[in-house]
């Protein structure tokens, strides 16, 4: 008897989460009802049980001779190599652009052109130039990460308070010291923000690149499974891509909190 009032108070304590719980429940019930009840063909929308079976199958037997972990690992490797190179070069370029107006004037037309350009448009050209192995994909991701990081770093440097720089100079800091101890730490928050953005864009681009011109990786797996109407594999792949993207973002956020612990305390 006493369990019911306890449950009732727990229910009340959940607050707004009750609405979320009900909403999730409704969506889940609709999914189960539509698939298990036979309203929707398994071909279009797999039921929860066949989704789970598909996942186990992908983990144990893999898809086309590679397990889902191997596909995910290959995708991750590409994302990281493209992102790290692009973000490093972009950040250095952005720091220089923020610090020196001549450098900015020189590079900004190129960056401004590259930025809104759909990445996939030049993938085609890169494939014609470099073949269809890893090289064009990594160059593509490099070119994707570069403008995002450069603009973030440039804005970071431009946002440094002039007062601080003047204070450091008036106390006799050299130009290098001003950069190392004032400008760089102040810009670091923006640089990390740019890095998180860049990872997101690079990740989305990679999946697209794998779908269009890949033979391994999660993006390719989805496309190939879709061609054979294995929608259970497609769903598992989409979920895996979503989870991996989320983890990448969270990882960078954790690093940012570690490194830039002074952010937002002005």
């Amino acid at each position: 008897m006493s369990a019911i009032p306890a449950l009732g108070s727990l229910w009340r304590a959940l607050g707004e989460r009750r609405v979320t719980a009900v909403s999730v429940l409704v969506v889940m019930l609709a999914w189960v009802g539509a698939t298990e009840g036979g309203l929707v063909d398994d071909l279009f929308l797999p039921s929860p049980s066949s989704l789970w079976d598909g996942f186990l199958d992908l983990v144990e037997n893999g898809y086309k001779s590679r397990t889902i972990w191997e596909h995910a690992g290959l995708s991750l490797e590409r994302v990281l190599s493209g992102f790290v190179t692009g973000a490093l070069v972009g950040t250095f370029l952005g720091l220089a652009m923020g610090y020196n107006r001549k450098v900015e004037a020189f590079f900004s037309p190129l960056i401004e052109f590259l930025r809104p350009l759909p990445q996939l448009a030049y993938l085609v050209l890169l494939i014609v130039w470099f073949g269809i192995d890893e090289t064009p994909q990594i160059i593509l991701l490099f070119l994707t990460a570069l403008p995002v990081s450069a603009i973030a770093a440039m804005d970071g440097v431009k946002g440094v308070s002039v007062l601080r720089m003047q204070a450091a100079r008036s106390m006799g800091a050299s130009e290098w010291q001003v950069f190392r101890y004032v400008v760089f730490p102040s810009a670091l928050h923006e640089i990390f923000t740019g890095a998180r953005l860049a990872v997101g864009v690079v990740y989305a681009t990679l999946i697209a690149a794998e779908i269009i011109a890949g033979s391994t990786g999660l993006g390719w797996m989805i496309l190939d499974a879709g061609r054979f109407l294995r929608s259970d594999y497609v769903f598992v792949g989409i979920l895996a891509i979503g989870i991996m993207g989320l983890l990448l973002d969270r990882l960078l956020l954790a690093i940012e909190h570690r490194v830039v612990h002074w952010a937002g305390r002005d």
Binding site: E104, A105, P116, L125, E190, T193, I207, L223, F235, I238
Partner: protein, 286 residues
């Protein structure tokens, strides 16, 4: 693809963070160029010179990199006669139509939902997890599902662009509501404003700058997604043109496609900026 203000608007999610960085959200509506203009001109000239140089001295095979002259000639040819029976205008129009249709549908539904999510905690509790689940998903990953469901026609592409833009627009409208200063709402209430009036005259105008920022990000995302979608399954559009040209090693057509796409992308983002500074003239004025 994203501007600094957009960066901030995009990453600022938690309610507390929104309040804290509300001042940081004051946008530079004009991303004007700083520094000597001749250097910018010089860099563009240098790129073209390098292109000409590589071509003139045949450092790479002609097939891989056609010269500026050939590309110019092909450009005029595509304008007049078209590429495989579709002119450049038709292809550009097809791309812009898909992009615009998906984006506008997303705005029409995403903005009201986002506003409601920001204003009513219950609505947020019911819908937020769906939006937050969709946000980190690369759009192309579910294109194959949409093709499976809706076929290879325009419907699946417009649905894809809708789903690309929707979570961005909805999240930014929600974040926009949170930037409203509590004092303003209280002041309006104290002066006897009704609930609708508070929403219409206080909350909505305060949310509008972030809604526009979100719209700009969403449009950029939709624009790069539309090209990817056309690469996969289309019979017209700029993405299709580029992809089809690559099959026939028509690198001149590819280069034209890239340049046209780059210019279109710049024009689109400028357009939203101009609309933004016209409509949200109070942005950054506190």
């Amino acid at each position: 693809m994203l501007d600094s203000d957009a960066v901030k608007g995009w990453l600022v999610w938690g309610r507390r963070q929104v309040r804290r960085s509300a001042s940081a959200l004051r946008d530079r509506a004009e991303t004007g160029l700083h520094g000597p203009h001749w250097l910018s001109v010089l860099s563009v000239v240098l790129v073209f010179f390098a292109w000409w140089f590589v071509h003139a001295f045949a450092l790479v095979p002609e097939v891989l990199l056609p010269g500026p002259g050939e590309v110019g000639a092909t450009f005029i040819d595509i304008l007049r006669n078209g590429y495989r029976e579709t002119t450049l205008w038709q292809n550009s129009a097809a791309t812009l139509w898909r992009c615009g249709a998906g984006f506008l549908l997303a705005c029409l539904t995403g903005v009201p939902l986002g506003l409601a999510m920001g204003y009513r905690p219950r609505v947020r509790a019911a819908c937020d997890y769906i939006v937050q689940f969709m946000r980190p998903l690369p759009p192309l990953s579910y294109l194959i599902l949409l093709i499976l469901w809706l076929g290879t026609g325009d419907a699946s592409k417009i649905a894809l662009l809708y789903l690309t833009a929707f979570p961005i627009v909805a999240s930014s409208a929600m974040a926009g509501v949170w930037t409203t200063k509590l004092e303003r709402i209280q002041a309006a209430r104290a002066l006897g404003a009704s609930e609708t009036q508070v929403f219409r005259y206080v909350v909505f105008p305060s949310a509008l700058p972030l809604i526009f920022t979100g719209g700009r990000i969403a449009l950029a995302a939709a624009f790069s997604t539309v090209v990817a979608a056309e690469l996969m399954a289309a019979t017209d559009g700029l993405g299709w043109m580029v992809f089809s040209a690559s099959r026939f090693l028509r690198n001149d057509v590819i280069i034209i496609g890239i340049i046209v796409l780059g210019i279109l992308g710049m024009v689109l983002s400028r357009l939203v900026l101009v609309l933004d500074s016209r409509i949200v003239h109070w942005r950054g004025v506190e």
